[in-house]
Amino acid sequence: MEQQGSVEGAVLSLTDVAFAYPGEGEVLHGVDFALRAGERVAIVGESGSGKSTLLHLAAGLEAAARGQVHLTGQALAGLDEAARTRLRRGRVGIVFQSFHLIPTLTVLENVMLPLELATDLSAGERRERAAAQLEAVGLGDKGARYPEALSGGEQQRVAIARALVHEPALILADEPTGNLDSRTGETVFALLLEQARATGCSLLLVTHSHELAGRLDRVLTMRDGLLQSAGSTEAAPA
């Protein structure tokens, strides 16, 4: 069910979105942006420019002060906390800079979590799919471990598996390699791109590295609270 203001066929669309933290000045001044199905877009910009804020709005973790956010055609404005959560868990996978694995669950259980929250699969099926996803990120043998027993790179690969396992329409990744050394970062980045392509989902990725950003379909720059096109490689989505 398409709604007013949403860009036709977009997985994510922001229309004139403004946002301010309580008691602070505006961070975003009117962002217009659309992400097509299967498209992979990078956002760069100075520290404090509002990149993370944009991702949080896109995920429905924060509500916009003005303007419209649509997730797969569904407007977020006017939805309550629970409805936004339901929308998010079905359609979005998030990868954080600092992994955010649940320390009290094993690696496999962490990956099973979105399936349990968002799907009606049986326990056996959940386990199977999570194991397959772990296998896909190269950690098939580490499922029984707790996150604390993994390296940073491995933890982030688990986070990627967790973000992908329930086949969301959109992956939001906030500096997924920011906490990793450059070689590990490279591996993890490649894995993320490959997995996104394999599952055919869209990707919105924040990074400080122009080199990494350049490998995506489009690069946008966050500046002065606005999202600006930055001489992108305007390639059509695969």
Partner: protein, 846 residues
């Protein structure tokens, strides 16, 4: 220490006011309860001592005769023989029109000077009026204030001599000194001239005792000089039993208050640890800019000191207020059971306040020591990880379990050997409690692991259980506090329930008649009212009773000091109802031997206090000297905590003891008779007699006894409630800490799609798991405490045995209460977590 460091540290108060408030509440309640119980105990103790001193005066010895008194001519003979430091006394209880009982002390004001000078204003102006105007009496000063009666008002006193009007003289008014009415004017001792007292107490021409002051050398001389029916008894032996019992009662209360303090300590420790952990970023950053370990250690302790001082001051205020409530309770209990004590105001003594101050502040510092050390130590590594602390906590749990075994063994050893009597009993109790509480973290770890394995497939419960296990430093102390409070509640319920049940059963057995006829004036072992023996025929005629028993209590001098002797002429099958515990004689032969030989039975407390076994001999003073009586058995009796010796009327008469009237008649009516009609007939007849007497039913006596019983334990219920409140706060604090710490985890779960309602159920589930664990662990601990209270402590303190009764409804109630409290305590964090803002929480450094 840098001011900025301090500021960095204390700013947390503004950010988490509720958390800091909980620490404060722990100190406040802990201090308040201990102080209140101590103050109430002290006040009651002072009132008790004062009453005892007023009665006993400065005498060293008392000359005592039979319970019915002795000829006052003996006193004149003594003085004539040169014993100048002597004062005659007539004493006994009386009842005021409002139903309260007072104690009448009849003195010879001219002889009194050396004895009760200061205590009773004797030798002062009004005393002359006591002598010159018969029928005048000096109530305690406070009585005028409390009753609103005026100086020289007429009061009717109901005593052994019947109802009589007397004139109450206000010493203050008499002296034109309004300010003389001090707090110390309380008490229930009414002083009058000996002649007036003789009239009131039906002692014409007779005395109850003679107070004497003797040097060591004189004691034997006087003892020799006394006629055979009189005994010389050291003052300390009177009231000694009452003093010890009152002491035991207070020890019980103090132990309860210490338990409340122990639980408060858990709360303080919990919140202090959390205060440190919450600020691990602050610590790490401070360390990075070069703040030393000592400064970190110092700043944590300084905060604890601050909390301790503020909490103790507030707690002291609350404690003094609470003491006002408690003192009335404690005094009432002491009065009910031991001796009439006037309730006086609570006057906090500097020493008690000082001790409580040290206790409150010291406890706060002590509870902060481990967290402060943790903070200073972890700071070295850059960031203080929860992981390290929790790993250490789990290791500690195992060591604590080992230590707990040692404590349990020590406690068990104390019980088995019975070393240390009452104090030993309490030490054993605390060893066992400490042992079991130290075992709890270890049991909790394994329980949570087991649960986690059980819910392997189910993610959310697994998160809930696993995060409890991983936050052991948080969940274990809170659970211990709750377990302890619930166990104490169960333990007290078992003790009070068993006691109550036993008393009820005993009353049912002891009250074997259908109706009782008793004097209207208060009964007492000495100076109490009596009814004429020759009423028996009339009572039988009017009631149609098939059997009449009589009983009367009196104080008798024995080789073991003054003892309470109960003389009965029992119903035929009375022994079938007597709860006999031990006997050297078969039950069938017992009645015969008690009637025909010099033999007695003693109560359980008597056997305990005097270390008497069946087969022993007990010497009692009879006219003409001491006479040994064989103790044939021990029976259960909760009537007199000092113990009673039971003798049949036949043995009493054969021993040549002077008859002393009847304390009560017990009438057994034929089956199917209209009891109400009998009561009416008896009351009509009693109204014509010159002695005031009442007809009472066993039900009334039972009711009154149970009312006294319930009053006695009202204070324990109060302490129980306070303890539960503290435990509730402890579990609330712990759950809040747990959830705050896991805020980032919760935010992650929410970002993955967990609904706010899911967060709520997660938090409530954790509360439920902790609450259920605590409640289940409290059952064995509580039952053990109850058993110990009954078998060791009460037996040591009061000599009362009782049948262990498990009040299952109260146990279930307590268990539900514990789980309910934990669930309720999780409501606030659940609500806060569910509506937490996700983005700031997600940003938090791991």
């Amino acid at each position: 220490m840098s001011l900025l460091v301090l500021r960095a540290w204390l700013r947390d108060w503004r950010r988490r006011p509720l958390q800091r408030l909980l620490t404060l509440v722990g100190v406040i309640i802990g201090v308040a309860v201990v102080l209140a119980v101590d103050l109430a105990n002290q006040s009651a103790q002072r009132a008790f001592d004062r009453s005892m001193d007023e009665v006993a005066g400065a005498a060293t010895h008392q000359v005592l005769g039979p319970a019915s008194g002795f000829d006052e001519a003996l006193y004149r003979e003594l003085r004539m023989a040169g014993w100048r430091d002597t004062a005659p006394i007539v004493e006994g209880p009386a009842r005021l029109p409002d139903g309260s009982t007072i104690y009448v002390l009849g003195v010879d004001p001219l002889a009194e000077g050396p004895f009760r000078g200061a205590a009773s204003d004797i030798g002062d102006v009004p005393v002359q009026r006591l002598v010159t105007e018969p029928g005048t009496i000096l109530p305690p000063v406070g009585w005028f204030r409390d009753s609103g009666r005026a100086h020289e008002s007429r009061v009717t006193l109901e005593a052994a001599g019947g109802a009589r009007e007397v004139t109450a003289i206000d010493r203050a008014a008499e002296r034109d000194q309004a300010d003389a009415a001090t707090d110390e004017g309380g008490g229930s001792l009414w002083v009058t001239d000996i002649a007036t007292a003789q009239g009131l107490l039906d002692r014409l021409g007779r005395l109850d005792r003679i107070d004497v002051r003797l040097t060591d050398a004189e004691v034997d001389v006087l003892a020799e000089a006394l006629p055979a029916e009189l005994e010389l008894v050291p003052v300390e032996s009177r009231g000694q039993a009452a003093r010890e019992l009152a002491q035991a009662f207070r020890t019980n209360l103090t132990a309860m208050s210490l338990l409340a303090l122990l639980i408060a300590a858990f709360l303080i420790y919990n919140t202090q640890t959390f205060a440190v952990l919450r600020r691990r970023e602050v610590i790490a950053s401070l360390r990075l800019v070069g703040v030393g370990r000592r400064a970190i250690f110092g700043v944590v302790l300084l905060e604890a000191l601050l909390v301790g001082v503020i909490g103790t001051l507030l707690g002291a205020v609350l404690g003094i207020a609470l003491a006002q409530v408690l003192v009335a309770q404690v005094a009432q209990t002491v009065t009910d059971h031991f001796f009439a004590v006037a309730v006086t105001g609570v006057t906090p003594r500097p020493l008690a306040l000082g001790a409580v101050f040290l206790l409150g502040v010291g406890l706060s510092l002590l509870a902060a020591l481990a967290p402060a050390w943790e903070a200073a130590r972890a700071a070295g590594a850059g960031t203080t990880g929860r992981g390290g602390l929790e790993r250490r906590a789990r290791r500690w749990a195992a060591w604590l379990a080992v230590l707990s075994m040692a404590l349990l063994l020590a406690g068990g050893g104390l019980i088995v050997t019975g070393a240390g009597a009452l104090v030993g009993g309490f030490v054993a109790l605390f060893l066992l409690i400490a042992g079991l509480v130290l075992l709890l973290p270890w049991v909790l770890v394994w329980t949570l692991r087991g649960l986690a394995a059980l819910v392997r497939g189910v993610t959310l419960p697994r998160i809930a259980v696993r995060s409890l296990e991983r936050s052991l430093s948080r969940s274990a102390p809170a659970t211990s506090a709750l377990t302890l409070a619930l166990a104490a509640a169960i333990g007290v319920a078992v003790m009070v329930g068993s006691f109550r049940g036993s008393v009820e059963q005993w009353l049912g057995q002891a009250l074997t008649s259908d109706l009782y006829v008793v004097p209207a004036a208060p009964a007492s072992a000495r100076g109490g009212a009596r009814l004429p023996e020759d009423w028996m025929a009339d009572l039988v005629a009017r009631s149609g009773a098939v059997s009449v028993s009589t009983g009367s209590s009196q104080e008798v001098v024995s080789e073991r000091g003054l003892v309470d002797l109960y003389v009965v002429r029992p119903h035929a099958n009375w022994l079938d109802y007597l709860p006999l515990l031990e006997s050297t004689v078969a039950r069938e032969a017992l009645g015969e031997r008690l009637a025909t030989e010099d033999a007695v039975l003693v109560t359980e407390p008597f056997a305990a206090h005097h270390d008497v076994r069946p087969g022993d001999r007990l010497s009692l003073a009879v006219p003409g000297g001491q006479r040994p009586f064989e103790v044939l058995g021990i029976y259960r009796d909760y009537g007199n905590p000092s113990g009673t010796v039971l003798m049949t009327q036949a043995a009493f008469v054969r021993a040549g003891m002077p008859p002393d009237g009847v304390g009560s008649f017990g009438l057994r009516l034929p089956a199917g008779v209209d009891v109400e009609a009998v009561v009416e007939r008896l009351e009509a007849w009693l109204a014509e007699q010159d002695r005031a007497a009442l007809v009472t039913r066993p039900g009334d006596i039972e009711q009154e006894s149970m009312a006294i019983f319930d009053r006695t334990f009202a204070i324990t219920h109060l302490l129980r409630v306070i303890t539960l409140v503290v435990a509730f706060i402890a579990i609330l604090g712990a759950l809040m800490a747990l959830q705050m710490e896991r805020a980032r985890e919760f935010a992650t779960l929410r970002s993955l799609g967990l609904l706010p309602g899911g967060v709520r159920s997660l938090v409530v589930l954790q509360g439920g798991v902790l609450g259920t664990f605590a409640a289940l662990a409290a059952i064995p601990l509580g039952l053990g405490m109850g058993w110990l209270l009954i078998e060791v402590i009460n037996r040591e303190a009061f000599g009362w045995g009782m049948d262990l009764r498990l009040p299952w409804d109260e146990v279930v109630e307590t268990v539900l209460l514990g789980i309910g409290a934990a669930l309720l305590a999780s409501a606030i964090p659940a609500w806060r977590m569910a509506r937490m803002r996700l983005v700031p929480a997600l940003r938090e450094v791991p």
